[in-house]
Subunit: 228 residues, 2 copies
């Protein structure tokens, strides 16, 4: 029984990867860089995006907003006049705890790919399963709130290993917690040596410019690629 | 295809419920009250348990510690000289993002049921899937950190609806965030009218006595049941 179960899981991931590659081809063809943005619930993905998207110069960024239910975050971002498409895993996808390639594919028709340079996919808040499913993204980034404690890289290593960038957010709370930033960063680099890191506070705005720059550099790389 | 997928999911949940009932019978026979404790990653489950378990009088409490990987939390609690059994979903269970009844059943032989009055099952940190799987518990409780924001009941309603108790933790951080406690509690009661709530800070100890009392009352009820 156990062997059968394992094989089924592998088959499902293979199907996901096949669809992810198809998504990636469509994104590449449109010259759109795609970021898969992940975190635990309440780490501050949307609050950071509100700050970043307030001014992206002539780089056009769209958002695919993944949630189990509701459209609270999509409404927050749409008020910034960026194109936002809501994808609910609770409607037709069984309330899944992550986005997969097929869900993203189902939203492709609603995304204005010809009018954007970068798509940020805000995944469902979860430190486990989203890391297991490629969705056709170029790069994976995750937000880790200091309020979650120092030990999260050790407890959820797959997520921290899967991402090219770790955004350590809510650093304004550090003086009000027992969390030691050096210990947190030490755990991060023990799990994923060489991972890029940014320290941010969506509340005070600290580090937001650096995060915006990190994103815009990647958006322009893709643009160059599409032209060539 | 979609209909088949739905049926398979229902079958899996039925199997889970069957095993959960078997677990429950074993717990009842031993006179052990079981609490399924859930939260997002880093909400403070273990820190609260450290406070609560430091003094439970003559009520004997054991812990089943669920994590994807590692035994950091189990080691923290074992230092309090309470019986702790580690259950890793990454070892043999495919890295699942939640505990299910079969995983808990696999740990039954390691649990000193005859020597405890209450078992607290600390689930994997995740606000989605743990709420979907009964494991044989008497009661479900969840921890929600104020640092996660006001909107989490609206975004993860199944978890908040599944639980009899919501523990709103890290209230010492309230003055340092933009979170409005009344809005958070309003969202909580909009999603689950009548849910019990406790306000706690594992850091300052505020509300920990009330949480301990809440647990001990339930442990003694079960004892009376086992004697009768």
């Amino acid at each position: 029984m156990h062997r059968v179960k394992v094989r089924v899981v592998e088959d499902a991931l293979d199907a996901n990867n096949t669809i992810a590659r198809a998504n990636r081809q469509d994104f590449d063809r449109a010259g759109v860089t795609v970021v898969n943005l992940m975190s635990a619930p309440g780490a501050g993905k949307t609050a950071l995006l509100e700050r970043v998207l307030a001014d992206t110069g002539d780089v056009r960024i769209g958002v695919l907003e993944g949630d189990v239910e509701g459209s609270l975050d999509a409404e927050r971002l749409a008020s910034l006049h960026v194109p936002v498409v809501q994808l609910n895993t609770g409607a037709g996808f069984g309330g899944e705890c992550h986005l997969d390639a097929n869900m993203v594919r189902s939203a492709l028709g609603s995304l204005p790919l010809a009018d954007i340079d970068m798509l940020i996919i805000e995944n469902v808040g979860n430190l486990v399963c989203p890391a297991e499913f490629r969705v056709g993204e170029d790069v994976r980034a995750m937000v880790c709130s200091v309020a979650e404690g120092e030990d999260k890289p050790l407890k959820y290593p797959l997520m921290f290993r899967a991402c090219e960038l770790a955004i350590v957010n809510k650093i304004d709370l550090l003086p009000h917690t027992d969390v030691d930033l050096d210990t947190l960063l030490g755990n991060l680099h023990a799990v994923h040596p060489g991972i890029e890191q940014l320290l941010t506070s969506a509340r005070t705005g600290e580090g937001v410019d650096a995060l915006r720059d990190w994103l815009l550099v990647r958006a322009s790389r893709s643009e160059a690629h599409a032209v060539a």
